[in-house]
């Protein structure tokens, strides 16, 4: 699945997107896997309350299931307007 990072999440992880092979059932499970990878991921995902997630370009929650999802995006709260 494609995993995308925006704003300071992108900066901390160092890349804007990557392919991730995972059996994670939920977003939270995927976050656990990513955190375990490297310190830069652990840093980016240190505080989930400061993060938002979208599945296939729809905002959702961290307990959402990943079944059938092609694109996951992590980013800070939005600041449009």
């Amino acid at each position: 699945m494609d995993v995308l990072y925006f704003a300071w999440v992108r900066e901390r992880i160092g890349i804007p997107r990557e392919k991730v092979e995972t059996q994670a059932a939920t977003v939270a499970d995927l976050v656990e896997e990513l955190r375990a990878r490297e310190p830069r991921y652990a840093a980016a995902f240190a505080d989930l309350s400061a993060l938002r997630v979208a599945l296939d370009q729809e905002l959702t929650e961290f307990d959402a299931p990943l079944a059938g999802v092609r694109e996951v995006a992590f980013f800070p709260p939005m600041t449009g307007g």
Partner: protein
């Protein structure tokens, strides 16, 4: 449905004129324009807006549809820029048309409230002392409870 996400500046006067001109039987047009403010005590070199191509357009179209379900509206226009911009440049605009002023005002405020915290844009400010991502405001999240 008119949602435009673009890097280029837009012509506020021409957009406003064209929008108002296209309305038939609408008595009220409201526009909101967001402008890059300079930073108090720390001169802004530039602001850069990052966005999530694809999701941005979907989110804005959804916000427009939600507004149309709540109010009786003529045209709606949302233009939002991304990329670098300087102080005093226009970041974005919304315009709403309705038969009555209350609907046009409320719909424009609703669009702005949702666009602020539900459309995937992120602002970064560059000054002489460094660069910083703009933090989301609690007040912006609270503004959504009104609707």
């Amino acid at each position: 449905m008119a949602v435009r996400v673009q890097e280029a500046p837009f012509d506020l006067g021409a957009e406003t004129e064209r929008f108002a001109d296209a309305q038939a039987d609408m008595g009220a047009v409201v526009t909101f324009t967001g402008i890059v403010r300079d930073l108090p005590g720390d001169s802004l070199d530039r602001m850069v807006i990052e966005h999530y191509p694809g999701m941005t357009e979907k989110a804005l179209e959804k916000i427009e549809l939600d507004a149309r379900e709540r109010w009786s509206l003529g045209d709606v226009l949302i233009i939002h820029r991304f990329g670098p911009m300087a102080a005093n440049e226009r970041i974005m605009m919304v315009a709403t048309a309705s038969r009555h002023r209350k609907d046009a005002f409320e719909a424009a405020e609703f669009l702005m409230d949702y666009l602020k915290s539900r459309a995937p844009f992120w602002k970064k400010e560059f000054t002489a002392s460094g660069a910083e991502w703009v933090a989301a405001k609690d007040a912006d999240e609270e503004a959504l409870t009104r609707w």
